[in-house]
Amino acid sequence: MSRPKLELVKLRKEYSDGTVIAVDDIDLAIEAGETVALLGSSGCGKSTTLNMIVGLENPTGGDIQIDGATVVTTPAGKRNVGLVFQDYAVFTHMTVRKNLAFGLEIRGKYVLETNRAVEEVAELLNLSDKLDVSVKELGGSELQRVAIGRTLVTKPEILLLDEPLSNLEAEARLAMRRELRRLQSEIGLTIIYVTHDQVEALSLADRIAVMNCGRILQVEDTSTIFDKPDHTFVAGFLGSPPMNLLRGKFAAESGEVSFQKDSFTLPMGGSGATPAGFYTVGIRPEALSVSSADTPAIIGRINNVEPRGPETVVTVSVGYETLTLVAPPTDVLHTGDPVGLDIDYESLVFFGGDSNRREELAVAGRIF
């Protein structure tokens, strides 16, 4: 098996004499040519992790290895790692060409070599016709391309992107995402992408690492992490709206198994033994639909209808619980109306009621 390009081994960062743990023993291996997104809310430790990989902060424990060799004691400039921030970091009084050349000039590269590298990168980023334009005249997405170009020109083996698109307007962000996908496939960079925006993570990454409180809760390819989240935090973080999570117990009444939380009952559509103890059921909003049947699985009352354009998000009260589902655009659903729901049992997942970790369960003739 080939060695990973970058490996984090029990990487740890403490502040204030160990009272604050920003990064808590992270293990992560990234293959050459792979793009991994570190996804989490602000304060989850993702930017600190990135800063340690670049060398802007020193870990208080663990190791960072590039091509199998530790780089913890290697100064930032010598790690062959490029970092792009969200704030562009370009010199506004210079032309695009000067900006792109800067990193090579301070390294004392020959003019010819610098010129060739600048033109290659400009070509790659569709900036060739802007080379002699002052950076002041550029728009947001062009500025971000210059910022990425400044990093690429130094030929890093690993590119780290810290929320690179969050300052862009929606349209420019879409264009830039496509640009980044093209770059990935054309030059096969190894990329670590830090973001709080799951859409960005989904659209760019091969794998997503969901972080919370300094830990990585799950690292998985984008479709698996969506369908089979390992942890209730991951389930509640991904998806818009995220998975419905209800903590309760299984019960059987005249042989029929159901999942119950107080007044809320979810029939499991079969009979058999009931696992003991508490569980949390995860129901994707896409797995619920408005029923036309006389006896739907769930009956509730609509408490909010939220149009989204191509779809509508409907919130339904069932007893004291609330379920969110995604429906096609509609005129017939109104706040306050009773509604029946059908459920796609295939997509249900269960988590241990105390561990919050996903468990495989055999219930009512199905394996979840």
């Binding site: 809310s41 602000s42 304060g43 307007e169 929606a170 349209e171 879409l174 995402r177 496509r178 996908r181 093209r182 709080h196 925006d197 799951q198 859409v199 989904l202 659209s203 984008t222 479709s223 969506f226 973080f237 991904l238 998806g239 818009s240 709206p241 994707r284 896409e286 909010n304 939220e306 149009p307 989204r308 354009g309 191509p310 509508t312 998000v313 655009p329």
Partner: protein, 373 residues
């Protein structure tokens, strides 16, 4: 402009033909809209559209050059900010660092010299709604970003003005918190019968919580409608592009009288005009674009397809993905189920088919306006 606000009761606010310039730049021209009582109205528009100027004018921080600002039935255009019964909530909600959560939220009422027991009751109620009871005794520096934002909202919402002005109140929060708090804002507005006028550049936010959306662009009101109507029948092509992701497909087309067909020239594709467009495209002939939302296209087998192209990009977005198909000089963005992505390969020949043609739109290229019969 479509009038969906023919309310029977008089509105809390009526902006009447407002003009405003800064030096030689026209910031607002002929801005005219109403905000009904106990509603949530959203001003939606890109950066520089005039959203903040509009809110500042209602608050009294800008004076109109022409037109009237009618608040609660009175023309307040020349009134000082403190004479107006409005509260403005900004994105950057600074807290008093040396006061705890309770004192921060209570501060407007303390200044107004309300009775202490009344203040306690109000703070407790609002803290409960915003789920910040546990931070009332803590200083801001010990609170998380979301808790601070909630305390700041609590401080703003504890007053009972005629109208709340919210200027991108959630834009500095991260995605997850933003979605949670916007639902909370909506619930509070409904439960307390508040009147909210909120500005945002985020169309998701606007569609999700607004009763009525005011689309503002280049200092002009482009459209006033219910959220789904803005999405389904945008007034112009800029609105069509601004509202909706992945972006609407806009394809320059002509109508060929001989065959009664629409021809998308850049793609070399011929289609029958859908019923709702038949008359307008016939009249127009050329100089228009068809607008097709990505969810109204599907991928099909290339052999039997009328539109044949090459798959050039796939963008996964969770349960859905966006496939981009290049057809001659045109590109079609198609919304597909992510589970179908595995069977696709970049570079492969593929067909595109139009569905829900009753949703197809057409825009006049010269004016940018949606063509209607």
């Amino acid at each position: 402009m479509v009038d969906t606000q023919s309310a029977t009761v008089s509105p809390v606010l009526h902006m009447e033909s407002i003009n405003k310039s800064f030096r030689s730049t026209k910031a607002l021209s002929g801005v005219d809209f109403m905000v009904p009582e106990a509603s949530l109205t959203v001003i939606l528009g890109p950066a520089g559209a005039g959203k903040t100027t509009t809110l500042r004018m209602i608050a009294g921080l800008e004076k109109p050059e022409a037109g009237r600002v009618i608040l609660g039935g009175e023309d307040v255009g020349q009134w000082e900010p403190r004479e107006r019964n409005v509260a403005m909530i900004f994105d950057n909600l600074a807290l008093y660092p040396n006061k705890n959560g309770y004192e921060n939220i209570a501060s407007p009422l303390v200044i107004m010299k309300e009775k202490p027991e009344h203040i306690r009751e109000r703070v407790d109620t609002i803290a409960k709604t915003l789920q910040i009871t546990h931070v009332l005794g803590r200083l801001p520096k010990t609170m998380s970003g979301g808790e601070k934002q909630r305390v700041a909202l609590g401080r703003a919402l504890i007053r009972k003005p005629q109208l709340f002005l919210l200027d991108e109140p959630l834009s500095s929060l991260d995605a997850k918190l933003r979605i949670e708090l916007r639902a909370e804002l909506r619930r509070m507005q409904r439960d307390h019968g508040f009147t909210f006028l909120m500005a945002t550049p985020d169309y998701h936010e606007a569609l999700a919580i607004a009763d009525t959306v005011i689309m503002l662009n280049h200092g002009k009101v482009v459209q006033v409608d219910k959220p789904q109507v803005i999405y389904d029948t945008p007034a112009d092509r800029e609105t069509a592009i601004f509202v909706g992701a992945p972006q609407i497909n806009l394809l320059e087309s002509v109508f060929v009288a001989d065959t009664e067909e629409l021809v998308i020239e850049s793609a070399g594709v011929r289609v029958a005009p859908p019923e709702q467009l038949a008359e307008v495209v016939k009249r127009k002939g050329e100089g228009f674009e068809l607008g097709i939302r990505p969810e109204n296209l599907i991928l099909t087998d290339v052999d039997s397809a009328a539109i044949k192209g090459t798959l050039v990009d796939i963008e996964p977005l969770g349960p859905k993905s966006v496939a981009t198909v290049s057809v001659k000089d045109a590109e079609f963005r198609v919304l597909i189920d992510s589970k179908d992505v595995a069977a696709l390969e970049l570079g492969q020949p593929i067909g595109v088919e139009m569905i829900n043609v009753q949703r197809m739109l057409a825009f006049d290229i010269a004016t940018g306006l949606r063509m209607q019969s």
